[in-house]
Symmetry: C2
Subunit: 471 residues, 2 copies
């Protein structure tokens, strides 16, 4: 039985708005050349010696994004268990769920490696070496933390005070002077949020330090809806029971109280990419320290980070800025104030702005749709269906739809008819008609949909049948 | 015979990119509450005492934009003459064209008032008062300049040195120290580019100082295609002849050499809105000196000017910036470097970027189209047709079109059929079919067009008939 990585995927990462959105959170951002952060985390986990199974704890609405991200990195010979939360209850509950499941499935000696889904690690070998050392300590009944030797007096992280391999204490985010003292002392490491322990050790710790969280998550797991498919397990945590779980972080609930802690220092090029400022530091610069991605054009500007993958962005005479342009929202922030993007995001939420929730492109289990325009009485979308993708058999009470295929071949159920439509062919779905869209081809199918009606919300849908369990 | 305003409309105004584009230049920008700059100029001219006719000199491709702008300000009882240049030959030629026409139509004593189409004047009464004084001087055979008392040592303008009402000399854009001396002396006024003179006086001056420009423009005007409609005159200057005209500014060609100059100082809230910095100065600020237009959300930012009429723009912790977001391009510039937007624009032109030429919305005589998306083998547009608007009878060699009406009623010629389509009705125009779109209703008609084909350029069009003379 090798080590069991547990990928914990939660939180929006609102400091990375406008790329991150509530329904498209940080683990799924296409950052860097290696694809998504969660995909890179999965590949890193699957590449560790002896890994046969990986547990992922995530929100159930993010499962199809997770599947896509994992499929993109294609790890062979690894089975997957997905623990699907109906809503977040912080890291103590998430780790309790994973530990309870692993204890049942693999016994109390199974060693778990907790990995946040949205961190970056550039030195995989150093990481793997640290994991080996942690596994030995976990076998000896220790709860192992991974400490990152700090290279700057960062005030955005918690620190672990160590004395050789022993943990003297956890300290919360310090002020600037204290952080500088910490770095100077050499005894303080950043708390990376990665942990390693045996299932039995953690269950004992949860029982000792937050028994209520353990018992409530156990009940939610016992009431879960479980489905298996090949070597894949989906565990849908029961919402009613899970609602009673106290939300608490594993640091507060266990780490600050436990006495059998150990710390493994790892210098593995770790970053939590906590803000656009951190992202900018990771990006290579030109001769003027600018990093200009996409369609950025700079004139007399220095030390700027620009992400213009969708639209042209011109900079004139500016320094030290982060500029991120998406099709519906643009951020302009001073690099050293980039942490305050969180406050801007809070403003957007207060104002119920859709730009806080979703991108113009919304991914679905069958593919995606992109809103091209909304006007009075109409909406225009591009709908893309993956090979094998099949939308639900559905109807609408308030809108008709005009479909024109522009790529691939669509199989369309429209009332009593089934049509095969290639590019440059179209059909009309009258209001109330049962219809369905499917791609049986091997390339992505795309069509342009023009909706007409007095109400055009996504919730005007009656589903009669759905292969993704949404009817 | 009252004074004859001559509105000179030329130049891109590239410092106001991304709002200004080559084919949508500065006079047509929707700046401020009063609509376009050229519309405001026209209204100001029409409102002067005794004005019966207005001459406009502009590029012929901009005529329909000019018509729209003038229609929006609806000046009654004024007849219009449009002198349509095939291309620009600078201000000496433009003024020569207007003066030659006015001299022929109204005699040598007709007094002309030259007004650049892209300046802003906030105190109309002071302006009108200055014009009255200038008219008296023009009647006495003087070429009158309008000088603006400077309120800052601006290095972007030419200055007029005066001694009471007499002009001692014209000086080009000074350096900062010289400009400061000018302002301190009290003898220097900004050269506003507005002039007043009788036709006879200017014809004599042109003959004396740049006879080649006068004779070549006279030839181009004599070869012009002239059409009249009611009290409207359209004079299409002959391209072949006009190409021989030397391009020169009126300042160099005449003003710096003429001896019968006079200067009328006018304090009329004048601005040439020469850059986004100037635009920002005109805009009212909030408590932190921010001017946030449209969907701008600011967090800890000061002294910023944001134009976010189309998209959400979030600012975090930044000062002294200009941010202008359009659907396809965003500018981020330091306010006091905003003049260098011109250099950014030059970069865009070198790179043949479409964002230098047109907006996603392109205006046509019959209305407008907006490109919503372009992909491999397809393009999606919203097409809007004004009441009474009628596209040419046309066909395409490389594309088919799917039309779905979303507002108003479309009259569609499609091959041998004529269809009447209301919202939620559609038709398919096969490749090669003759077709035409018309709006006979009283509200704007809008449809979504999905083009499919192997080539989707605007130049794939065969026009069989066109009410705007384009076939």
């Amino acid at each position: 039985m090798g080590i069991i990585p547990v990928i914990i995927s939660g939180g929006v990462g609102s400091r990375l708005w406008p790329l991150s959105r509530k329904k498209y959170p940080k683990p799924f951002l296409p950052l860097g050349e290696s694809g998504t952060l969660i995909g890179a985390t999965y590949a890193r986990a699957a590449g560790l010696d002896g890994v046969k199974t990986i547990i992922t704890v995530t929100n159930r609405d993010l499962l199809h994004l997770t599947d896509d991200a994992y499929a993109a990195v294609a790890a062979s010979g690894v089975s997957n268990a997905f623990i699907l939360e109906p809503f977040g209850r912080d890291t103590a509950a998430a780790i309790a769920l994973a530990t309870l499941h692993a204890g049942q499935a693999h016994g109390p000696d199974a060693v778990l490696l907790i990995l946040p889904a949205d961190h970056m690690i550039t030195d995989t070998a150093a990481f793997a070496h640290g994991v080996e050392r942690a596994e030995e300590l976990a076998d000896q009944g220790r709860i192992v933390t991974f400490g990152i030797p700090p290279d700057r007096p960062e005030t955005g992280f918690g620190y672990i005070e160590t004395d050789g391999g022993d943990v003297l204490g956890f300290v919360e985010k310090p002020d600037a002077d204290t952080a500088a003292d910490y770095v100077a002392s050499g005894r303080f490491l950043w708390n990376s949020g990665m942990f390693c322990f045996s299932a039995g050790t953690m269950l004992n710790a949860l029982e000792a330090h937050c028994a209520d969280i353990l018992s409530a998550t156990r009940a939610a797991l016992e009431a879960a809806q479980v489905s298996t498919s090949g070597d894949r397990l989906d565990i849908g945590v029961d919402a009613e029971t899970f609602a009673t779980v106290r939300a608490h972080s594993i640091d507060y609930a266990v780490m600050e109280k436990a006495e059998n802690l150990a710390c493994v220092p790892v210098s593995c090029g770790w970053s939590d990419i906590g803000s656009w400022g951190a992202m900018a530091e990771l990006a290579p610069g030109d001769g003027k320290d600018n990093h200009a991605g996409g369609q950025a054009i700079l004139q007399g500007s220095r030390n700027c980070y620009v992400d213009a993958r969708d639209n042209l962005v011109g900079l004139v005479g500016v320094d030290d800025l982060v500029v991120v342009a998406t099709p519906d929202a643009t951020l302009v922030a001073r690099k050293d104030h980039a942490h305050a993007v969180k406050d801007l995001f809070a403003q957007l939420e207060e104002q119920d702005r859709p730009e806080a929730v979703e991108h113009r492109t919304v991914r679905r289990p069958w593919g995606s749709y992109t809103v091209l325009e909304e006007g009075a009485g109409y909406k225009v979308k591009r709908i893309e269906v993956k090979p094998g993708g099949r939308l639900s058999l559905q109807s609408h009470k308030h809108r008709s739809e005009h479909w024109t295929v522009v790529r691939g071949v669509a199989i369309v159920v429209n009332g009593d008819e089934t049509l095969t439509l290639a590019a440059n062919q179209s059909t009309y779905i009258p209001c109330g008609a049962k219809h369905r869209l499917e791609n049986r081809g091997e390339e992505t199918m795309a069509l342009i949909e023009v909706q007409c009606g007095d109400y055009l919300g996504e919730d005007d849908i009656v589903r009669y049948d759905d292969i993704y369990g949404r009817s």
